[in-house]
Amino acid sequence: MKSVLLRGAVVALFLGAVAYPALAQDAADTIKIGVVAAESGAFVSAGHTLPAGVGLAVKEINDEGGIKVGDKTYKLELLKRDDRTDISTAIAATQELVRDEKVAAIFGSETHDFTLAMAKITQPAKVLHFAGNSTLAKVLTDSSVASGGEDHYLFQTEPQEFQRSGSTARGVLKLLEPLVGHPLKKSVLIVGNDATGQFLSSYYLAALKSEGQEVPDIIFYPPDTTDFSPFLTRAKSLKPDVVHFWYNGDSTLTALPQALELGVAPSYFLFGVDPGIWKEQGLSADVPVAMSCVPVCWGESSNPKAKAYFDAYFAAGAPKGVTSSVSLLYYDYVHFLAEAWEKAGSLDPDKTVEALKTLHHKGVVSDDLAFNATHQVTHATEVCAAAPGGDITCAMQEPPADAPKQ
């Protein structure tokens, strides 16, 4: 019997050693901010931009001496947690940041369903939660964001989808038509079949139709497709004027050469592909290609402040990638939050939410960043177009005032 008891005890000790106690008490006047994102695993290409963007903003704020809230000045302390592209780790990291570290705000994550699961922890704990997933619109309703609602402290740092889709559709058609030389009447969508793809395409389809486009088909492909030729041939059979690739930059860049090979359409639109990548990889096309970036392009931008931001962003060591501009969905809103705290004069979550809803923040993406009634931002979208063999022109597109009739 003795040996059996001993055996159980040793294994338990191994477990006990792992339960390291909560970290040492933090310094007096710092505010903790958490970031949960994929810094390893399959989503690292999108995830790494979050800590990079937030880290840059926090450094800038601390370098300027921190923020004055009420009569005290605070420095910001950034806590980065890798979710390893695994929902259980994302949940554990959120529990740690909310309950152990008692952070004032959380940014992340890059994956739609991770963010929703995280929100179930941050919201009851009254922790401000900023995320750039456009699909948050599904949960952000007037009742859920009202005080006492289940998403009162949740903010979507991307425009309402009908606005982004509307301005994108308008921009794409406006930029491509002169390059193609004849009016564009028929569009076909080729979209990745996952949460974001399904959500975005429903709005973009409506936006195209409201621009007078005939859209005979939306072709969904399994998210990790590499050989797109069957889908592209199917699109070709519909004889479209424009083929619109949504939304994952990597998949779109895999599909484009195959589309050019098959000569599918006289022009293409690549959502989420940055002109910077277009030039970096020396891509070229014998037909006009439009591109749009989320939210602003780093390769070629008509937005003066974007260049300064991205120079600092890449200088801080982040690799140049298709998703580098996603960092802006987080960078601007650290400054926005800091300004809200200063305006509210207190760190109280409810006061901060009120400040966030009334403030108009001058950020990189736009000089007039503001959250609407359902905690979503409204700003213009940047669409660029590359003429065959060459120069890229970009232009900001203003969003439509209200959603097209469904």
Partner: protein, 332 residues
């Protein structure tokens, strides 16, 4: 086999579970408790897999799909029929068991790797069906679980309370698994694992028992799915496709599929090993991969068998392998 003898093999697990239940007294960090809950939920599914693979010798790479069935059943029951946590446990268990039986039927004709890749295909098919299931399955964005969890009025949603609920279900799974291993049914499954032809010649209906093993493994997976749905509060198809299934197979093997402590050890190791390596995220993943390789090369029979063998050597008792059936080492 004298009953007291086989009870002895349950004792280490019970002791370990009591210790695990006392962990909240050490006021561990919330991160630890959250990871422990996720690990515990995996362990419940692993006990199902240990009956299927450890006892019956059938490896399945679609076990996470069955957990998914459990989770989605719980979410849909809560959404459409307002059925809460406790009632959805048996219902989800039954649903997962039915799907498990369906996945099991081909195992009567196809065996070995051909069957493994088939279960892999089933796992992928389920993820595709859920992704394209429209509003009913919440399509690719998945489903929310709004129902609160309470027991006799006490809210379980507090982390440590949920942790204790998970430990309770892990204990239930361990005891059920122990009961199966030491029962006539368990011996029948082991006979099928060791030599199907001989088993049939002794009157064992091999086909029916194989399907039975799938059904049992499905029940464990379904219960695990309910606990997962109510813990994450939001489930989506990508959590139950092929790689999660491959990881469940990894956990049960690295722990020791045939031993009562195997699933527990495998689940805890795979969940907490990354915690010990907190270098830069990418470097710690490299180290994590290396550690997995090291563990299985140094302890080919799995963690528990390795610990037991090391234990005997350390106390230089006779190194012959212990004879209780439940603690036998993995044979060829």
């Amino acid at each position: 086999m004298p009953a007291s003898h086989s009870f002895r093999s349950l004792l280490p697990v019970l002791i370990l579970l009591v210790l695990l239940a006392l962990v909240p007294l050490l006021s561990p960090s919330n991160r630890f408790v959250s990871l422990a809950i996720s690990a515990g939920i995996n362990v419940i599914a692993l006990y199902g897999l240990s009956v299927l693979f450890g006892q019956t010798g059938i490896l399945s790479m679609g076990h996470a799909a069955l957990v998914g069935i459990g989770a989605y059943t719980a979410a849909i029951l809560a959404r459409d029929f307002n059925i809460g946590f406790w009632l959805s446990i048996p219902l989800a268990g039954i649903m997962a068991a039915i799907v498990a039986a369906l996945i099991g039927i081909p195992s009567l004709r196809v065996s070995g790797h051909h069957f493994v890749i088939m279960t892999f295909a089933f796992g992928q098919l389920l993820a595709i069906i859920l992704t394209n299931g429209g509003d009913y399955t919440g399509a690719a964005s998945g489903l929310d679980v709004q129902q609160p969890v309470a027991l006799f009025g006490l809210s379980i949603d507090v982390l440590t309370h949920y942790y204790l609920t998970v430990v309770f279900f892990v204990a239930l799974s361990a005891i059920a698994s122990w009961a199966i291993i030491n029962s006539r049914y368990g011996r029948t499954l082991r006979a099928i694992r060791e030599n199907e032809k001989l088993a049939a010649s002794l009157g064992i209906n091999v086909g029916r028992h194989k399907i039975g093993a799938f059904i049992v493994s499905g029940v464990f997976a379904g219960v695990s799915g309910v606990l997962l749905a109510y813990f994450l509060r939001h489930i989506s198809p990508s959590q139950f496709s092929s790689f999660p299934s491959i990881y469940l197979a990894l956990m049960v093997m690295i722990g020791g599929a045939r031993l009562l402590l195997g699933p527990l050890a495998g689940g805890i190791l795979v969940a907490f090993l990354p915690e010990l390596l907190n270098l830069d995220p990418v470097q710690s993943r490299i180290l994590y991969g290396v550690c997995l390789i090291a563990v299985i090369l140094l302890l080919p029979n799995g963690l528990i068998a390795g610990i037991i063998a090391g234990w005997h050597k350390m106390f230089d008792r006779r190194a012959a392998q212990p004879s209780e059936p439940a603690v036998e080492r993995e044979g060829k």
